[in-house]
């Protein structure tokens, strides 16, 4: 049912490079990719009016950055954007009501099954014509990520970011730490940090989703990307030995996680990293939001360590954030114009100038102004053999929120009862995926 998986091919490496090549080739060719602010090719009338825009960019930095991108749009177009910002978590929780009620014309959302789910139910308008404009800037993998189950595009990518193990360079230098390449080294490193008085792994899971990053990586490193995707689809049993091994591996790491995670939000845990009280954190690149500009230069990461040599460090978790068009927009033309702009390199560059904790989705974006960490992140993703989107975007939303969030939280409280846990997950999975 949901077999078209974005970013899931082994060949993303090839298609990614091919896409890059094509993009460079195109940009050499001429004026196809003028700043998307001018949207349509001049022959059609310039769109005007107001477009309503539902955004969940509620944290301070992303909010400012988005506003900057929209200001850039306002300068070059005749369209007024009515921005409606809702708190990040609330926006996602209310998405069902929102899309069925009176949604804004354009709204922020994520690629992956989560997008296809809503597209399939008719809650979004297809925007293949926007993709005709911007398609040249994206690799096949991105296009697939933006495509619904019916083969049409519904999603415009904006930026993406990898998940990895983040740390402060100064802390590593001071204590003589080295990034860990495999699981044993990882545990040894954590042990060392503990004896040096640091919290080895800053950790928070009050909101339920941050721990998914750790789970996804443990699963992909232990069992491989294909198994992970299959498990997310509901095609594997949670009671299988492979899944149990994942939890057992996690259990070995748990003593090094920050205590009291279930009462802490990720921003507070990241603060521990900022304050040099914690050594590492498994998080997305957006952890940089918590750092001041100066401190951010000290931020670095290493890919999640290998566990099973068969799978190495092939897979990278790199969710894509972007925008969609709601089902019955009031100002469709202007909305599509806005989407074209947002899908273009200029908008993304403007955004990243203010919020550098992500990587532009467009291959034409100017990476020369990237900070070292952005460059490293870019390399990590483009070099990845497989890319996953994140647990709550790769599987059914009801499974992710009503089953997985409580299940992982239960595991964090009672890491010893793995058998009971996976049995419960499997039962509920069968009920939901049925």
């Amino acid at each position: 049912m949901y077999d078209v998986r974005m970013m899931t091919r082994r060949s993303v490496l090839q298609t990614g490079l091919a896409g890059l090549a094509a993009a460079y080739g195109l940009s050499g060719c001429g004026s196809d990719d003028e700043p998307a602010g001018n949207g349509s090719d001049g022959a059609a009338a310039k769109p005007s009016g107001t477009v309503s825009f539902g955004s969940n960019y509620s944290d301070e930095l992303p909010k400012k950055a988005l506003q900057a991108a929209l200001d850039g749009y306002a300068k070059s177009s005749g369209v007024e954007v009515d921005l409606n910002t809702v708190d990040h978590n609330t926006f996602q929780e209310q998405i069902n009501n929102y899309l069925q009620g009176s949604p804004d014309d354009v709204f922020a959302w994520f690629a992956g099954y989560r997008m296809q789910f809503f597209a399939e139910r008719g809650l979004a308008t297809e925007i293949s014509d926007v993709w005709e404009e911007i398609g040249g800037q994206y690799s096949e993998a991105f296009k697939t990520a933006s495509t619904g189950l019916d083969g049409k595009q519904y999603f415009v990518p904006f930026y993406y970011y990898p998940w990895a193990v983040f740390y402060r360079k100064s802390v590593f230098e001071k204590n003589g730490y080295e990034p860990a390449a495999n699981f044993d080294e990882f545990k040894a490193l954590a042990q060392q940090m503990e004896s040096d008085g640091l919290t080895p792994l800053a950790f928070a899971d009050k909101d339920g989703w941050p721990a998914f990053g750790t789970f996804d990586y443990l699963n992909m490193r232990t069992n491989g990307y294909d198994f992970h995707v299959s498990l997310m689809r509901g095609d594997e049993s949670w009671e299988s030995a492979q899944v149990k091994t994942v939890f057992e591996n996690w259990r070995e790491l748990l003593p090094y996680h920050q205590q009291g995670a279930l009462g802490r939000i990720w921003q507070d845990a990241a603060q521990g990293l900022v304050d040099k009280e914690a050594g590492m954190m498994v998080m997305g690149l957006f952890v940089g939001n918590q750092f001041s500009d100066k401190d951010r230069e000290d931020l670095d990461f290493f890919p999640f360590p290998e566990i099973n040599p068969e799978h190495g460090q092939d897979a990278v978790e790199a969710p894509i954030d972007g925008f969609m068009l709601s089902q019955d927009p009031e100002n469709e033309d202007a909305a599509k114009d806005l989407l074209t702009y947002l899908g273009g390199a200029e908008a993304q560059s403007v955004y990243l100038n203010v919020d550098p904790n992500n990587i532009a989705a467009s291959t034409e974006a100017d990476t020369s102004s990237y900070t070292p960490i952005q460059q490293k992140a870019n390399e990590l993703i483009t070099g990845a053999a497989q890319i996953s989107q994140f647990l709550d975007r790769d599987t059914r939303p009801d499974f992710a929120s009503t089953v997985m969030i409580p299940a992982i939280q239960k595991f964090l409280r009672e890491p010893d009862d793995v058998d009971g846990l996976v049995k419960s997950i499997e039962q509920q999975k069968k009920a939901i995926f049925a």
Binding site: N96, N97, Q100, R121, G260, G263, R264, T402, Q428
Partner: protein
């Protein structure tokens, strides 16, 4: 309209008989509207949705798409809730604990406060205001206030106790073994004031002559309370009991504001909203949970209504 002139001034509380048929047409229209419009509103927006919830609980529906996409699955939802839905029994337990706690602790404390304040000591108005203050604050705001008090590293309690370090951190709201109790303290903080007021009113209606008689006989205060005052409070006791039960079943705001009702703070009301307004959208499942909540609530509702109308019929 012919009046029953024989119905001379009656004592309050007794309704005279009127022959409805004697109303003018204009009057009849007026009466119909006066009752009809509010009735229509209540029926349409409360009773009809309640029935609809009951019906939907036998379905599997993701809420998107029209009514024709509903799948009828009989009692499957209920079976699943009771057998394989991990938060259900904890939520059920928590609601029971909530009820027991509210009934035992803040209710008796409220009674004690009312009794003490009833003595008309100096400053009782001030005390009354202070204890009643939490009642007027929204439960959501109560949740915020107590989050500040309970915050792990920066909250009042931990800093006063000195338990803010990694080793000895007491995670009041994050530790599922204690967070329910921490939240119950907040709920009790609010509930006690409410009960206090109810009992204050009730105590005023206890015939002072009874108390005098007890004192004359040399009874101790506790004895007088136990044998005379408390039994005289019976009508209020019923109200207090029903109010407590309803509040326990309704508990939602505080828990939702703190952590969306997870990890030790599961409650039936939050489970319903999780399945209905979250991204999950399992309408049938959520409706089944709502019906379970409804069934449990019917008991105190019936008690209250029956009690309220005992004097009528």
């Amino acid at each position: 309209m012919a009046t029953d002139l024989a119905a001379a001034p009656r004592t309050s509380g007794r309704r005279p008989r009127r022959r409805v048929g004697r109303l003018t047409t204009a009057d009849r229209v007026a009466v119909t509207l006066m009752v009809g419009v509010p009735l229509a509103v209540v029926l349409a927006f409360i009773w009809f949705p309640t029935l609809a919830s009951i019906v939907l609980s036998f379905s599997s529906w993701d809420g998107i798409g029209g009514i024709d996409t509903i799948e009828w699955i009989g009692t499957t939802n209920y079976e699943q809730i009771v057998t394989i839905y991990p938060p259900f029994w904890p939520a059920f337990r928590h609601n029971l604990i909530w009820l027991a706690f509210l009934a035992l602790v803040p209710t008796t404390f409220g009674l004690l406060l009312a009794y003490l304040l009833d003595k008309q000591i100096r400053g009782s108005r001030v005390y009354q205001s202070i204890f009643f203050l939490p009642v007027v604050i929204s439960l959501a705001v109560v949740g915020f206030i107590w989050q500040l008090v309970y915050a792990p590293e920066q909250g009042l309690v931990n800093n006063v106790l000195g338990t803010t370090e990694q080793g000895n951190l007491i995670n009041w709201l994050g530790n599922p073994d204690i967070n329910l109790w921490a939240v119950l303290v907040a709920a009790a903080w609010r509930h006690a004031g409410y009960i206090m007021i109810l009992y204050l009113a009730g105590l005023k209606s206890v015939d002072p002559a009874l108390r005098e008689a007890a004192a004359i006989d040399g009874a101790s205060e506790w004895y007088a309370f136990r044998t005379i005052v408390f039994p005289a409070l019976k009508p209020i006791n019923i109200v207090v009991l029903v109010v407590t039960v309803i509040e326990a079943l309704r508990a939602f705001d505080i828990v939702y504001v703190i952590n969306r009702g997870r990890n030790g703070l599961e409650l039936l009301s939050v489970l319903v909203t999780d399945n209905i307004i979250g991204e999950a959208s399992r309408i049938g499942y959520g409706s089944a949970l709502a019906v379970i909540l409804l069934v449990i609530s019917i008991v105190p509702i019936v008690v209250f209504v029956a009690n309220a109308f005992k004097e009528e019929s």
